[in-house]
Amino acid sequence: MTTTMSNPAPAIEVENLCIRYGGVTAVENVSFIAAGGEQLTLLGPSGCGKTSTLRAVAGLETPTSGAIRIGGQTVYDNRAGVNVRTEQRGMSMVFQSYAIWPHMTVFENVAYGLRVRKHGGAALADKVRHALDLVKMGQYAGRNASALSGGQQQRVALARAVAFSPSVILFDEPLSNLDAKLRSEMRIELRELQRRLGVTSLYVTHDLEEALAMSDRVVVMRAGAVEQSGTPADIYDLPRTAFVADFVGSANLVSGDVVASDADRGTVAIRTKDGLVVHGVTHGRRVEQAGTISIRTVHLSLAAERPAGEVNVWPVQIMRSVFLGDVMQVHVLWGAQELVIRRIGAPLNIGGEAAFLHAPPERCALLEASG
């Protein structure tokens, strides 16, 4: 595993990837680059083409067109007629179903990739033990694989994926079959492991928290195409489209006519149908006649008294409060539209009460006009 440190892990490049099944297009013109040692996550709802993309990188799916390069080496290119077989791509993968071979012991499962590579004897046993220790499954080596719990199978699958020191690991929703508590534990462990091994990893999930917590970069996919890519913070703070704003955490979307914009300072203001004016930031996005602004539920604040001299302060009616444990969710009537606010602190008890809503303009992001 030390070899991967001295040898920088290879980058994964996907270029204009298209996958069609008969008349159905599963993936269309998807491009992204995961730099060496980086963890890149494909995030999206089921059926968005993220798993097809991952399987194409693994070589388990034959794309219709495009190119895939690993560490600069082309493994698939339809124009050049290159399609390297899965077993020759030298990657590793953790499957959603874990794919633990039920007829082998834990040891044999983990040793598989090493045996394929003609390792044997003490060196093999050493590496297997090391991989099992990484996932704290050392004492289960002799156990029959069919006698493991879901969480244990997950760990064995992970050990098997890293045992032969691969430099690229693919993850196909590896945590989706675990219960919530185990999932949040494994999330941190996986991230630690990935950092420690210094491998390049491509991770597929539909779970937002997982994507934000584990990734260096996130590619949000929708209906077979890339919707937005960037760092987790970028994706969260500056959603490019209404879909991303909505899918990546809860957001309020407000639309209206553009009444002011300043290209130099990157600010914009819109007026809604109800005549409410919202000031926001453009982040270099094109300003048109009308626009939609996304405001995260946590970036809105409520006050009983009008805050002095601020923009983006509106009088609202509190409709109801919902206690969610860590946070309180408050629904307010803003003009004719209902907005949702999530806040920490004492519950607001009164329905029907008037209050003042405030949103910092730098937290109000203009969305790109979506087609």
């Binding site: 077993e87 590793s92 993968m93 499957f95 071979w101 007829h103 598989y112």
Partner: protein, 551 residues
């Protein structure tokens, strides 16, 4: 791929072509290929209204009875707290292994109007009339239903088990009583599945042969399948008429199975989700012992009683109901082993079954893999072709094969080769179905993971696919072996004087020599099959253990 499709197509369709050629042949007799085509042969079928009527009566009665057996046992075993449920569930499949032929022989000994054991006992105590007549249409239907009931049970209990108990629980929560729940929720939900089973069973009954042959023919009572056999084997044979009957029977059966497929593939009902549920069990109180008796009685009548009857008969010099010490003998068993023809037929059957099972597993394994795991074009056609023989009654298929191989340039007719080809074709659906079941259960990613790990196709086949498929392949081998040893409908037409096999030999013995000797032969066959299954079971368990303990 094209060669595989072509090979299967030849196996399956070549005989069917000759069946229809013969059915449409209205030219000069004994001239092939036909000099003129027409439908006159089909019109002649109407000259035999009794055969058609008999078939309809027996098939309908047997189907209703079999469904009744199947439904009642399925309901008792999936929905009530009947004692020894698991044991009973296993016993319910035994009649299927006892086979209708064995059942017909045994029930003939039990219920023949003159000499039947039951009638002997009845006469002794209650007068001169016979109590039952097993050779009557209802008697024949009874024996057929006893053995098909087991199939109906498996199908219906699968439907009942795949129903989400929450659907019934919801009715109970809303205040519906047990019986209301049963009538308004359970029955409507299982109805489509039961209808599917009804159609399947009806089609099987239409094509069934052995029971009507053993019980009906001595009294000149014919159904379509036995009539076909009769027309082919009488002198002079009436080939064209037999072919027309066979073609018509095939058409009806094909339509029924198509309907069955259509019904079951239409996922309009919510009950079948492919998920196994633990159905809610009703507490029947003391009544559960009555329900236990009902199921036990069925197993007794269809499995224990026939085997016991055959044993009782085979051990007597002359089979009678009341045992006498002087009447017992082992002569029939000795005779069965000493007659050269019998011994040869037995050995032939076992050899042939082994070869069929071995080639069959390789062939159907390959077919299943292509159908389910390849992306090759034409695999849909392949699946259709492979399952096609299911829609053809064996006797009809054998007729087509006989007619086909008679004109084939290779001299295979009347040899083991033609039997081997016939077995491989008629058992193709059995093999493909069994192996497909295992392939389907195998998570695709198990193989893909080996691929990602860098293992070549052969390496993966050796270390992952083959070991995981092994239990399924062995099960398919055993099923094909057992089915081959017991095969009657195809063998009876296709075996030649130098290629005798066991089951037709048993039927021949029944018609031409003593029933005691036949009983002994049938028992020997049963013991051979049971022994094979036991040895095989031990062997596979050993294999499984070794696989587990391997480092």
């Amino acid at each position: 791929m094209a060669t595989v499709v072509a090979m299967v197509a030849v196996l399956v369709l070549y005989p069917m072509y000759y069946l229809f050629q013969a059915a449409l042949d209205v030219g000069l007799p004994d001239t092939r290929p036909p000099t003129a085509y027409g439908v006159a042969n089909f019109a002649k079928l109407l000259d035999y209204p009794t055969v058609l009527w008999n078939t309809l009566v027996v098939t309908c009665a047997a189907t209703l009875l079999a469904l009744l057996f199947g439904f009642i046992s399925a309901w008792i075993l999936t929905r009530t707290n009947v004692p020894f449920r698991r044991t009973l569930d296993q016993l319910m499949t035994v009649p299927y292994y006892v086979t209708p032929l064995l059942g017909a022989l045994a029930w003939s000994l039990l219920g023949a109007p003159e000499s039947g054991f039951i009638n002997q006992v009845w006469r002794k105590f209650f007068g001169t009339e016979a109590l039952i007549d097993i050779t009557s249409p209802m008697g024949i239907a009874w024996v057929m239903a006893l053995f098909e009931g087991s199939v109906a049970y498996v199908m219906i209990s699968a439907v009942m088990q795949s129903m989400d108990p929450a659907l019934e629980e919801a009715s109970a929560v809303m205040g519906g009583s047990r019986w209301r729940t049963m009538w308004r929720i359970t029955l409507p939900l299982v109805a489509p599945g039961v209808l599917g089973a009804a159609i399947f069973v009806f089609a099987e009954m239409l094509g069934s042969f052995s029971v009507a042959l053993v019980l009906g023919t001595p009294a000149r009572f014919y159904v379509i399948t036995t009539a076909i056999y009769h027309f082919v084997s009488q002198y002079p044979p009436r080939i064209a008429l037999a072919a027309a009957m066979g073609a018509s029977l095939f058409a009806v059966m094909f339509a029924m199975l198509w309907l069955y497929r259509w019904l079951t593939s239409r996922n309009s009902f919510v009950t079948v989700s492919g998920k196994a549920f633990r159905p809610r069990v009703m507490d029947m109180g003391p009544l559960r012992w009555v329900l236990f008796a009902v199921v036990a009685l069925y197993v007794l009548a269809s499995a224990a009683l026939p085997v016991a009857t055959l044993l009782f008969a085979a051990l007597q010099k002359l089979a009678v109901a009341f045992p006498a010490a002087s009447n017992f003998t082992l002569d029939h068993f000795r005779q069965a082993f000493s007659i050269n023809a019998v011994r040869t037929a037995m050995l032939n059957s076992i050899m042939l079954a082994m070869v069929t099972a071995t080639i069959g597993v390789i062939m159907t394994g390959l077919l299943s893999w292509i159908i389910l795991r390849s992306r090759l074009p034409g695999r849909g056609v392949l699946e259709y072709l492979a399952m096609f023989p299911q829609a053809v009654p064996r006797i009809v298929f054998a007729f087509g094969m006989m007619w086909a191989w008679l004109v084939f340039p290779l001299p295979v007719y009347g040899t083991f080769w033609v039997l081997l080809i016939a077995y491989l074709t008629v058992f193709m659906p059995l093999g493909v179905r069994t192996i497909s079941g295992v392939v389907l259960q195998l998570d695709k990613s198990l193989d893909e993971c080996g691929q990602v790990c860098g293992a070549s196709w052969w390496y993966r086949m050796r270390t992952i696919t083959a070991p995981l498929l092994r239990p399924g392949l062995l099960a398919a081998w055993l099923l094909i072996f057992v089915a081959s040893v017991r095969e009657l409908g195809a063998s009876i037409l296709l075996m030649g004087p130098d290629s005798k096999v066991m089951t037709p030999a048993i039927v021949e013995a029944w018609f031409s020599s003593s029933s005691e000797l036949t009983a002994a032969m049938a028992l020997i066959q049963t013991v051979v099959i049971t022994a094979t299954m036991v040895v095989f079971g031990l062997f596979t368990r050993r294999l499984a253990q070794r696989a587990v303990s391997a480092p």
